[in-house]
């Protein structure tokens, strides 16, 4: 019994079939609780008023937007080393979710920025690096759709993802040189005293958990679809798609 047995798509399919209902129900429950708590049961901020509640969408989506890339990185590396087909498909399945989450984070951030900073957009390092992240995602996604042979597509996108990670990190720190920030620093941390108030952070944690579950549900769902698509493709003997 090893982790690698899930490189067999059939094993993955049987396992994910069992997991999927559980995880989707818990996603719905956690997200509903977190968002309801966040939107209706938290007090208004003394400075920001009701607009503070955008945090319950903005922070979790930004969290997923960044971490989706790491999921893609890990699964790309696994593909490069072990030729683990499910892994490559997970990376493929994760990319559009990452794009969506990045766009959600940018748009909620813009709405919040308009309320708080008086402007939708500022060329701030954090904002700009999110935009760059979106560009990296789009490049990755475009490469997947451009290469026709599935195996070379997996290989090429994995290489792009690994190299892209280095450049995404470099760009993240390069933009610090180029502009001063308007965005605040981290408001949640495990070890620091400074913290946002529990009235906000507790529902925020639930929302973050909900978004993580949502991500997992979507990835599993999309990976299953990809595997089924691959099977149909093989059954049709590469004729038509």
């Amino acid at each position: 019994m090893s982790f690698w047995k899930f490189s067999n798509p059939n094993n993955f399919m049987t396992l994910s079939e069992k997991i999927l209902p559980i995880i989707s129900v818990s996603t719905i429950l956690t997200l509903t609780t977190g968002l309801y708590w966040g939107f209706f049961l938290t007090p208004e901020d003394y400075q920001q008023g009701n607009s503070v509640k955008i945090i319950f969408l903005h922070v979790p989506s930004a969290l997923i937007a960044i971490n989706t890339w790491f999921v893609m990185l890990v699964s790309s590396i696994i593909w490069l080393i072990r030729r683990h087909h499910v892994s490559a498909l997970i990376a493929k399945a994760a990319a559009p979710i990452g794009i969506t989450m990045t766009i959600i984070a940018i748009i909620t951030g813009m709405i919040w920025g308009q309320q708080m900073w008086g402007t939708y957009w500022a060329w701030d390092p954090r904002l700009t690096s999110f935009f760059l992240l979106l560009m990296f995602y789009i490049g990755y996604q475009t490469l997947w759709s451009a290469v026709e042979k599935p195996d070379s597509a997996a290989e090429l996108t994995s290489i792009l993802c690994v190299v892209g990670t280095v450049f995404a990190v470099l760009s993240r720190y390069a933009v610090n040189f180029w502009s001063q920030g308007l965005h605040q620093g981290a408001s949640l941390s495990l070890d620091k005293e400074e913290h946002i108030h529990n009235a906000f952070s507790n529902p925020l944690y639930i929302c973050m958990a909900g978004f993580i579950l949502l991500f997992l549900t979507l990835v599993i769902l999309r990976t299953r679809t990809e595997i089924l698509k691959r099977k149909i493709f093989i059954l049709l003997d590469h004729k038509g798609r």
């Binding site: 760059l132 560009m135 990296f136 789009i138 490049g139 475009t142 490469l143 451009a146 290469v147 042979k149 195996d151 070379s152 290989e155 090429l156 290489i159 792009l160 690994v162 190299v163 892209g164 450049f167 995404a168 470099l170 760009s171 390069a174 933009v175 040189f177 180029w178």
Partner: protein
């Protein structure tokens, strides 16, 4: 190795795709920017470092997709893969050939063009140096991008989408170097960071590009 270098340089000179095209594109960009923005000297001087770097970057992109395409089409890329020299060094040589026909020329011509924007001598020097050190990195990243898109029908359009984000650090540090030189600030920190990125890219990217070339031809 030298013969590959000679061959690539000759090919790009004679076919007229790399050599004259990227250089004239660069010149056009530099001359067209004031036409679009207006002849305001102060404003132009303020944005000229950005224009210089952006033009260098775009003209580098313009010529890069030819680097594997013709070799792929006539089959000589396969010969290069099975040749006794490792593919990594072949790719490095091809990058060097591309740089000689684009980046180096741009770096040489940029200070002359910089006179049009009324830069002082110190700024012109840093324009030359930053482009000289930064453009090999641009070429290398571009070759990596080209290696991912060998044999794709949409390669030409796909390449900029893939590669532009990768140019971010070089672009930022490169144009910051010139901007700081224009403002009379200390420039070595951004310059060295940019040089570091070029060095990193040249040291590691041939390996990634080799993997990609092999994967594309599988």
């Amino acid at each position: 190795m030298i013969s590959i270098l000679k061959r690539d340089i000759l090919l790009s000179v004679r076919s007229g795709t790399g050599f004259s095209l990227s250089l004239s594109f660069f010149l056009l960009m530099i001359i067209f920017a004031p036409l679009a923005i207006g002849p305001d000297d102060l404003l132009l001087k303020k944005i000229a470092p950005g224009i210089l770097w952006l033009s260098a970057l775009l003209s580098c992109l313009l010529s890069i997709d030819h680097i594997f395409q013709s070799d792929f089409e006539d089959g000589s890329l396969e010969a290069l893969i099975i040749a006794p020299i490792p593919l990594e060094s072949t790719i490095l040589i091809k990058t060097f050939a591309h740089w000689v026909t684009s980046g180096l020329l741009i770096a040489l011509i940029a200070p002359l063009i910089g006179v049009l924007y009324n830069f002082d001598f110190n700024s012109l020097l840093w324009i030359f140096l930053s482009l000289l050190v930064g453009t090999p990195g641009l070429s290398m990243i571009g070759v990596f991008g080209a290696s991912l898109t060998i044999g794709l029908k949409k390669g030409g359009l796909l390449l900029p989408v893939l590669i532009m984000p990768f140019y971010t650090p070089t672009l930022i540090f490169g144009s910051q170097t010139i901007m700081r030189a224009v403002d009379g600030l200390e420039v070595t920190s951004t310059f060295l960071l940019m040089a570091g990125i070029t060095a990193l890219v040249i040291a590691l990217m041939p390996f990634a590009a080799t993997k990609a070339v092999k994967a594309s031809l599988k």
